[in-house]
Symmetry: D2
Subunit: 463 residues, 4 copies
Amino acid sequence: MTKPAALIVLFLTIWAVDVSAAETLAIVGGTVIDGNGGAPIKDGVIVIQGARIAAVGGHATVIPTEARRILAAGQYVIPGLMDANVHLVLDAQPLTLIRFEGRYDELAIEAAQLALRNGVTTVFDSWGPRQYLVKARNAINAGNVIASRIYLAGNIVGLGGPLSKDFWGPFIAGPALDTAAQRLNALWQENVGPELLWMSPEEVRSEVRRYIEKGDIDFLKYAVNAHSLNADQYIAFSPRVQQVIVEEARRAGLRVETHTTSGEGLYLAVAAGVDLMQHCEFTGQQPIPAETVKLIALRQIPCAILPETTEARAWYRDKNNELDVRDLNERALIRAGARIVLSTDSGVFSPDLMNSTFWKNREPPGGGLLTLGEAHFSWLRAVEEKGMKPMEALLAATRNIAIAYGVNKDLGTLEKGKIADLLILDASPLESAANYRSINLVMKDGNVVDRASLPTQRLLTAE
Amino acid sequence: MTKPAALIVLFLTIWAVDVSAAETLAIVGGTVIDGNGGAPIKDGVIVIQGARIAAVGGHATVIPTEARRILAAGQYVIPGLMDANVHLVLDAQPLTLIRFEGRYDELAIEAAQLALRNGVTTVFDSWGPRQYLVKARNAINAGNVIASRIYLAGNIVGLGGPLSKDFWGPFIAGPALDTAAQRLNALWQENVGPELLWMSPEEVRSEVRRYIEKGDIDFLKYAVNAHSLNADQYIAFSPRVQQVIVEEARRAGLRVETHTTSGEGLYLAVAAGVDLMQHCEFTGQQPIPAETVKLIALRQIPCAILPETTEARAWYRDKNNELDVRDLNERALIRAGARIVLSTDSGVFSPDLMNSTFWKNREPPGGGLLTLGEAHFSWLRAVEEKGMKPMEALLAATRNIAIAYGVNKDLGTLEKGKIADLLILDASPLESAANYRSINLVMKDGNVVDRASLPTQRLLTAE
Amino acid sequence: MTKPAALIVLFLTIWAVDVSAAETLAIVGGTVIDGNGGAPIKDGVIVIQGARIAAVGGHATVIPTEARRILAAGQYVIPGLMDANVHLVLDAQPLTLIRFEGRYDELAIEAAQLALRNGVTTVFDSWGPRQYLVKARNAINAGNVIASRIYLAGNIVGLGGPLSKDFWGPFIAGPALDTAAQRLNALWQENVGPELLWMSPEEVRSEVRRYIEKGDIDFLKYAVNAHSLNADQYIAFSPRVQQVIVEEARRAGLRVETHTTSGEGLYLAVAAGVDLMQHCEFTGQQPIPAETVKLIALRQIPCAILPETTEARAWYRDKNNELDVRDLNERALIRAGARIVLSTDSGVFSPDLMNSTFWKNREPPGGGLLTLGEAHFSWLRAVEEKGMKPMEALLAATRNIAIAYGVNKDLGTLEKGKIADLLILDASPLESAANYRSINLVMKDGNVVDRASLPTQRLLTAE
Amino acid sequence: MTKPAALIVLFLTIWAVDVSAAETLAIVGGTVIDGNGGAPIKDGVIVIQGARIAAVGGHATVIPTEARRILAAGQYVIPGLMDANVHLVLDAQPLTLIRFEGRYDELAIEAAQLALRNGVTTVFDSWGPRQYLVKARNAINAGNVIASRIYLAGNIVGLGGPLSKDFWGPFIAGPALDTAAQRLNALWQENVGPELLWMSPEEVRSEVRRYIEKGDIDFLKYAVNAHSLNADQYIAFSPRVQQVIVEEARRAGLRVETHTTSGEGLYLAVAAGVDLMQHCEFTGQQPIPAETVKLIALRQIPCAILPETTEARAWYRDKNNELDVRDLNERALIRAGARIVLSTDSGVFSPDLMNSTFWKNREPPGGGLLTLGEAHFSWLRAVEEKGMKPMEALLAATRNIAIAYGVNKDLGTLEKGKIADLLILDASPLESAANYRSINLVMKDGNVVDRASLPTQRLLTAE
């Protein structure tokens, strides 16, 4: 395929120029909300040298003379948004997998570009085809393509690939699918798939260690609960096996997070001492017990939630009474002062899928939280509706995620020395969550992003 | 329905005579294998007065003059067989449930009569519709019908009814089934169904206590693992919830047993301190870790297994590779000296089901272990094939079960004071397991059973 | 079963008295609409002797002195309603079939009583289990039970039984169903099921002749089109085979009717020279060609339609665009002056079915046309909405059906010598179709029906 | 895609040389079986100039001096084989359709090359995506690629596309499939899909005419019977509509053939006066009536059959009792002297499909008749087993097909003036059908085919 190759060459050239120039920029005159939770700086100044922030301050801040000035009067400067849970290859149904077999890195880049275009400068991919995600991440980090920064986990330890019973399996069937499914599932599962659920603690330890030693993942995720239709109430790994998995992550210096879908699952995750819990408000038909909420808040364990907006919930009503439980849980966690982080579980879906009857019966109009590029805006609106204070919401989408994943040395706030990932908004995000949509400029690694050009190659998003 | 009513009257009459007579019997001249594991008594004598054994000994044992003598020269007298796991209402698919709605006690009695006819004088029903089983049990205990003695657990705590996803659910569908299924499942589930899996420990405690307080169950069974297609590897209750369930059983003086289907599940059951584990060799794709085998043997936790005969395994081969794991486990448990008990998980199935393509594709010819009345013979042959010593097999089918369920004061051996449940065989069970089929006489409660008349009412077994 | 037996004895007694008495009745003072289409007789008189009408006329009509008078001043007397298409055993899904196996005659009687209670004195059952329907028909004709008069066809030649692919097959599955389905389908199919579709004309002739020679059916029905999901557009029998079937019906003096579901099917039915066509407006996605409409009207071939009310259509909209075609067809047939007959395709359904999700997604609230006892009221309202004149509608529900089935010597109008089947309504059916509901009295065979007592035995309709 | 482009250039070059050279060849010394049914010519000579045969005769035939000689002593020269029924895009299940969307012409060429490699120089594609087949056919005819000569029908009038209920529909499902299926089915159906079954004769005429007027099809095929699971016994078009379809084909000078699957269907096809009938032995559960066999033989209507070898039938036994009927029919047709033509219904399937459980349960090992490139060999063996004489079999595979499709002016025999399509075999096809496999040389259009290089681009056949 010559076209992408050509594009890569092109990017390399442009990038080289940027980097060698190490241009100095100054964003001047805007209200700076630095992501630390303090009072915004009116008429602020941010100086950027190369990829990093050289200074942040009030209007008196010294601006190097060579700096190119970006005027932001009447505007708001905030850290680049982060998303603690995306799946860059989420339209992992057979048709898409087969159509793009061997090209999932391209799908991942398309998704990461869609995220960046919409102000999300860093994403954490918590389930995907490891090798392809690594390829995409590395291409982005090398500056070969411009897209959201990727951190990745590969498979969720204990779960199957996309065409297994744990994901699309129950919805699909096709005469050639068993052979193809095995091949495709293996790209996700590698050596940490559902077969681990039959193993002894030490056998699991050995597989997880082997998986980590491949050296490519940025964090580890494992299944506390099952992930499949009608099995969400079950527990995947016994406590002593969970302990082993957490030990292996620690040993390799990796953060470890979990998939849980029941109250007991959440309790077990807390007990196992994990660093982050995905969709921790998913507890089926029973709300999280009050003492567990308290514990989560007390220990400030980062807690990703997937709140629905009032509008989306209205669409679902009568179809799923577990949504009320989630809503109760979200409000309880917010009230208790839990350390909430923005997480969308979102991805990019093909028009073939989004126009299907299946999808229309399943997803609220607009795609709810699942549509990457839109989902973080919905998230911010939803938590506002549920009573989270504007500044808390901003931290949930920036600093808290950086801390949760241990990347706060470089990311999450607008501070001297940090990587210059930021947004300029036309309206204040502290006044209304809707204002996160008023993106005027996206900067990543100190470079102004040409949003209109993203995604550079339209695969799934092509009409 | 006048017919059964008439029969009941008839039985009452006969029975009344028997009981008032308190007939004295003496079984004379046979080889007595008393179920305690010692050397058989050649030319032995057993004296029975009323329902109980008055004496057991050699040929010198005093026989009351009024005793009616049963000559057993050249024959073998053993304790009545026990089955640690049956389901008297197991053909719990929609057609059978609907056809016999409101009459499940009759199905249970038919099944218990089939068991008795084939030498099983006591059965433990570990999953069924409680109210109906209670009715059947009580009718038998009151002497209103002659059938195998029933002990029952009702539902398996945490599992759904027969038409839920946990059992026939995935195989069935029908336009009117959702309403009917709800009604029928409730007969099994009562207040201890799958909704407990979403609850906190104290909520589970409260439901289990309420269930036990109904006052009718003889032992408690709960799900450590899931029970459904493709979900067997999952864990149902967290350890702390299991603890609560065991506590509530203990508090009520009930034995507690488990359903497990994975190595970790088995480990959790052992850790929870249960009294018996059903099909404990079911560990999916991985054999039981050696240390768990050791632990089970060391603590002598009664261990029910469902061994397939070589012939049945041959039929299955290529269809299910988990059978090899089971075989390995069974041999390992036997070798380690675990306290094995006979358990068949069997029931009675209608000809409509047994002649169906579904069944023919699923069950080996002859019905394998699942056919009540046959299954215990297969069991005894299978353990013989797997290396269990003849005397051990006999204890596994008698005394060990009585001890496991705490009913050894009355049942399980041929000893003075115990209830006179016994079989006279034409050939020695210590020479070949096949000889258990050579039943000459079945006695229960000191009464000789008219085997030819059982079942007294043919429902499912009617052609 | 002793209860029904007792009832039968009781009925026989009462009946015997009625018949021997040959009571003379006179309905006096009402407006008589005799079903011949002429002007109603105000202040009319109908004299009934025994089961038959002795006189009909104005107020001057001579009334025998011994006559018991029924005053009908301000009321309306019309012929008993007829339904050209019912299925007395229509809830023929597995659960109902199994629950009542061997008792389908009781279900048929329950349905016929529900019809009678609601003013339908004669029904034509065009698909059902022949032997059971015969039993029900004969019991009614013998006066053993009071219910709507039944004429029956047995199977639709060429179609399968209720659990075949042609009916409930695609919706159901169950492990034991293949064996049960075969047994149950055979009750409908006998020797004229789908296997005829593979046969040569002379082979079909031989089977149809054999079927007719059983001697019990009142008319013959055959499939011109397929009857099953997604196959309605296909043709079942070739024209020359249809010719053979019609010949055999003629030879036996039977009327012959058809099942059609496409424009070409309708054309073939007309060409085959049948006596009545069921749901002749069912032509899938294309309206009946204008020339075929003309032909049907010209030849006055009785044409049964199943019109939906505006209300019911509103519920369906968006779910099935073939309904618009039906509506167009119905209006075109009415406009062209086709000989329309009332036909409902209705039956009795169990609460288990009617409360199921399946049903709720399929049937409009109120049950649309399908609910026996209600459906004829909906039919009359629907044709009124579609522009049929009130008197035409009344003829469609009475005389036209009697003529179509060749029973007009005895039934269909209020004329001297005919069987005294009639209704007294409180409001005029010529003013509003809704007034058919104002039933004050139902008379069948000259006997006033005790409507409140019907159905005498509640099976499917029991809550 | 640069690779195929390069290949095309390459072929054009080579071809240009061939054509301009108009090389003269002489095949010398072989036994010539010219396809007219007469005695083979021993030590024969065939002279070829350019694409056509210049002379055929005994060893005395004059050989131009410039002729390049191909020695065939001890070998057998026969006309190139023809296949009256293939589907060049037959692996039309979702995975393949999606993977190669937009490239079906490449799949068709791959299939046509596989055919050519195995001695089939001409194929008739009777169901496929018209536009892509046209593209493939034209590329081959233009000499841009070397492959079997293609004649095509496009859709089977009245049937749906590959993902409709008529083909893969019932086997597949997938969340995005409804939208994709609609798009993909339309490539087959165009304006002559299943909606025609609802139309009046004149409406059908108009659509068929419009379809033919697109100008690209070589013959027309329509559905007399339905094509789908459980619907094969139904008739698709009424006789008068069939008449219209045949008229429109005649009007355009096209041969017309049919899909039939029942005895009555076959009779209707004969009555409609079609030119060829595909798989005319498929008559479900009843053999073709004797008079219809006679009629077919009398009129010498070309009759394509799909005989299974004894070996393949053995595999199927117990799975499908309709195979016995087919066998009876085939033997009856052969005995009656019907004009049989070789027809395989074959195509190329991906390893993903052929390794699937679905396939393994469905197709006999070796792929039976369905595997293009193999199927014609099986066909020839099968008819030999069923009693067809060797020379008849050879005519069935060559001349009879050419006549049936009206292309015998150019193809089908080895005669002066005809296109030089021929095979040289190492062993005599008149001695054993197995000898058709002994292909030594394939010539098409007077060019020796480099069999080893085919297919030139491996798509479906790639491992």
